[in-house]
């Protein structure tokens, strides 16, 4: 029994697949910090149902309940009934955005800037200079401690694989791209960085309910990243978005494109033995805690690959005891829902401190910036591996 008749345009079969058992609750970061069912997947689905069926109006409280979701999708991993919560929420938020224009103006403005790489880089450089002059409270704003004024250029070495470089990450964390390219090339594979031709994956637009913008960006990325070769992504959020183009655009072409997308760790697991083991790389000392980005763990399901890639290069990996609970970053979420994001982050920093880790790694720029703002040192796994390889 599929199809949709309701006011939110939700797929009835998807809605019905929730039996309200509640097994999602402990995995939901916003339920964990608020204790409110309306801030849980089960409660949000119940609210979608009553709005969809016209039983309750789309009130401010209900919109807030939808908006407060970080979209980590941990509930989908926990759900024994495979309820596609992420998709339900995206559709519901799309309707909310269309009918009420709920996303704040400054967020929309910011999101429009993302696909303009030169503007983004120029703006970032200005910010970097202001940072050096101590004109911006970086930590409070969740900015990286030291934004780059200049960036090392990425150069294509061939066409074996694409490296998707994205928007903010390219402007703020290009060193990670450099490291990633080095690691990929250590397997004897040539790399073509995507650069400005595919400026943004559109993930944040989808999350904000700006579906049309997201679809435009998807089409642009698809035409830029041509060919049949693999597209490697080192940002968990972007990887999840690119892998979802098949559903977003609902075309065979998009599905074929998505099938070429791999998280870089996922791809490296199958190419580890191509890295020259002579001389062996010395292990990086200390306890390394892995923060699993939600879009790697719950959406792509490739978080174990990060461990397998890191294992040969670090002396000890420690697991956090929070079962991959979200850190609260959620792309632009931490800007819009500041207090909730901080409360969620407190749980994460608690888990990190209990782990007694010396280094925290995260394969997603949003998560690492959010954690850096809490005073932690966070590295990308590719940086550690590149460092170990360089030390040979």
């Amino acid at each position: 029994m599929s199809g949709s008749l309701g006011l939110l345009g939700l797929d009835q079969a998807e809605l019905d697949s929730c039996v309200a058992c509640g097994l999602c609750l402990p995995h939901c970061p916003t339920y964990r910090v608020t204790g409110a069912d309306t801030h849980s997947p089960r409660g949000r689905i119940a609210l979608m149902q009553v709005v969809d069926e016209g039983i309750a109006p789309l009130s401010d409280e209900i919109v807030e309940a939808f908006d407060s979701c970080i979209q980590c999708r941990a509930c989908e991993t926990a759900c024994p009934g495979d309820v596609p919560f992420g998709h339900l929420l995206e559709v519901a938020k799309g309707v909310v955005e269309k009918t009420r224009g709920k996303a704040p103006w400054w967020l929309k403005l910011g999101l429009r800037a993302l696909p303009r790489p030169r503007l983004l880089r120029a703006g970032s450089s200005c910010l970097a200079v202001a940072q050096r002059l101590r004109l911006v409270p970086s930590q409070r704003l969740g900015l990286p401690q030291r934004l780059p004024v200049r960036r090392r250029a990425l150069r294509a070495t061939g066409d074996d694989v694409w490296l998707f470089t994205g928007c903010v990450m390219d402007a703020w964390q290009r060193d990670i791209h450099v490291a990633t390219q080095q690691v990929i090339e250590a397997t004897g594979t040539t790399v073509r960085p995507s650069g400005d031709a595919a400026p943004c994956c559109g993930a944040l637009h989808t999350h904000a309910g700006l579906g049309d913008d997201a679809r435009r960006l998807a089409a642009r990325a698809m035409s830029a990243l041509e060919g049949d070769n693999a597209i490697l992504v080192n940002s968990a959020g972007c990887g999840a978005a690119l892998k979802d183009y098949g559903r977003l655009l609902d075309s065979d072409e998009a599905r074929a494109f998505s099938a070429r997308v791999f998280d870089v760790h996922e791809w490296l697991v199958d190419h580890m033995d191509e890295i020259d083991a002579n001389p062996p790389a010395p292990a990086i000392a200390g306890r390394v805690a892995i923060q699993d980005p939600c879009h790697l763990r719950h959406v792509q399901g490739s978080h174990m690959a990060v461990r397998r890639v890191l294992e040969p290069f670090v002396s000890e990996i420690v697991e956090l005891d929070d079962e991959g609970m979200c850190c609260g970053a959620g792309g632009a979420y931490s800007l819009v829902h500041r207090q909730l994001a901080l409360d969620v982050r407190d749980r994460k920093t608690g888990a990190i401190s209990r782990s007694r880790a010396d280094v925290v790694v995260s394969a997603n720029p949003g998560c690492s910036m959010h954690l850096v703002a809490a005073g932690l040192t966070v590295r990308h796994p590719m940086e550690l591996v590149a460092e170990a390889l360089r030390a040979r």
Binding site: V19, C21, G22, G35, G81, D82, V83
Partner: protein, 444 residues
């Protein structure tokens, strides 16, 4: 199923004082009060009837104190069952009651429902693991029932409070017993071609003098739904599987494991012993996700929770399949076989016209069959609103009046969780009028 109520004001207290203040306001304005934990109950016990003030305990979620020497902990009611166990695991301890919903249900809810779980077969239900409860009564007064000493004062009001489904008071602090982790654990998965053979194995294991930590049964439909989710290697072709766990000391557990395997094989089963902790955890994850996994069968489900004598398991199971088939519904069975606690589950689509009536009729017949063989209405889910009107199947008027008296000892105005457990004829109004007439000499 219960759509005739709605929540009034919803409060999120984070201390005993907050709960006392809420009770004070409720008393002043004579409003009903309903306590609620994670809302994972299966009998509508935390569903509001009328428009009560809802007291959500989810923010009272701190473990206040762990006493390793006495193996006890004081917790707030909103602490999630599994969170407590996780927190004390490094100390070699755990909280023994493990309802299948343990990753979400709160200890306050466990206390309200006297929750069971697979491992209560050997370890006992919640009541055996609660030493003391700080309770806010409907007057706003806070009292501590029970105590950490061996034989606390007076009647066992702690025991009365556990399982009172939120109708005696609101627990604001709970002292629980922590159980040392067993030295050795073995989990066996036994597969059978016939449900009757699985049931016979359960009887034979118990009769042999073994007390397994858990004996769980799942039928073919349940196995299919669960296996689709966990991929633990549950045998889809089996008519029924048993999950039997033995724990204790190493050598004794080895001997018991061999004995159970032998009994299983003698009854026509194939036996697999979980090789490591990972395999064991996956098997249990499957079992504990079973109700949610039923969403793969149909969008709605309704289940009962009767307990029958173990020797009647086969008879009752056959009757359950017959009843559910006859009402054109889908039966899924997953239950605590070791203590005869059935969870006959009917999967259906509530939008199908007339289906709710068929579900209700089939449910009633299942209850009748269970009680007719000497069973009880509920083994661990509680009565709530769902089985309230069936209480007269099991109890006489005098029995129910006695229960109403106990309730009124705690909550004279019957302000807490109105409309639950006791059928309307034994509700507060009725008792209140009886009490009023006492002056006229009716109650000699």
């Amino acid at each position: 199923m219960f759509s005739d109520g709605a929540a009034g004001p919803v409060c999120f207290p984070d201390s005993t004082e907050h709960v006392q203040a809420i009770m004070g306001v409720a008393a002043r304005f004579d409003r009903a009060v309903l306590a609620r934990g994670a809302g994972s109950g299966l009998s509508g016990g935390a569903a509001p009837l009328g428009d009560p003030i809802v007291v959500s305990t989810t923010r009272m979620n701190r473990v206040l104190e762990v006493d390793v020497e006495d193996r006890t902990a004081w917790v707030q009611p909103g602490v999630i069952n599994l969170d407590l166990t996780r927190q004390v695991t490094p100390l070699g301890l755990h909280f023994a009651p493990d309802p299948s919903s343990q990753q979400v249900c709160t200890i306050g809810g466990n206390v309200a429902n006297n929750s069971g779980g697979p491992h209560c077969l050997a370890y006992g239900v919640t009541s055996a693991h609660v030493l003391a409860v700080e309770v806010v009564l409907s007057t706003g007064e806070a009292v501590v029932l029970g105590g950490l000493d061996a034989e606390p004062f007076g009647y066992d009001l702690r025991g009365a409070f556990v399982g009172s489904e939120g109708m005696f008071g609101i627990a604001t602090k709970i002292a629980v017993r922590l159980t040392p982790n067993p030295e050795s654990v073995k989990t066996l998965l036994l597969a059978f071609d016939k449900v009757a053979d699985a049931a016979a194995t359960v009887g034979a294991v118990i009769a042999s003098g073994l007390v397994p930590a858990a004996v769980e049964m799942m039928d073919k439909r349940c196995v299919a739904a669960v296996e689709d989710f966990v991929h633990a290697g549950y045998p889809r072709e089996a008519a029924a599987v048993l999950l039997i766990e033995l724990d204790g000391l190493r050598r004794g557990v080895e001997a018991d494991t061999a004995k159970v395997a032998e009994i299983g094989r003698a009854n026509g089963g194939t036996v697999r012993v979980a090789a490591d902790e990972q395999e064991r955890a996956l098997l249990w994850k499957g079992r504990k996700s079973a109700f949610g996994a039923v969403a793969r069968v149909a969008p709605d489900y309704y289940l009962h929770d009767t307990v029958v004598p173990r020797s009647k398991l086969v008879e009752v199971l056959e009757a359950v399949y017959e009843i559910v088939d006859r009402h054109d519904l889908t039966a899924v069975n997953v239950f605590h076989a070791g203590d005869g606690n059935l969870h006959p589950l009917m999967a259906y689509d509530s939008r199908e016209p007339g289906v709710n009536e068929r579900v209700a009729a089939a449910g009633r017949e299942i209850l009748e069959v269970s009680l007719a063989v000497g069973g009880v209405l509920s083994g661990e889910h509680g009565i709530g609103v769902e089985k309230r009107d069936f209480m007269e199947y099991q109890f006489t008027r005098a029995d129910l009046e006695a229960q109403a008296l106990l309730r009124r000892s705690f909550d004279p105005h019957c302000r807490l969780n109105q409309g639950k457990v006791l059928p309307s004829a034994h509700s507060c109004a009725d008792i209140a009028s009886l009490s009023a007439s006492k002056a006229d000499g009716v109650w000699g």
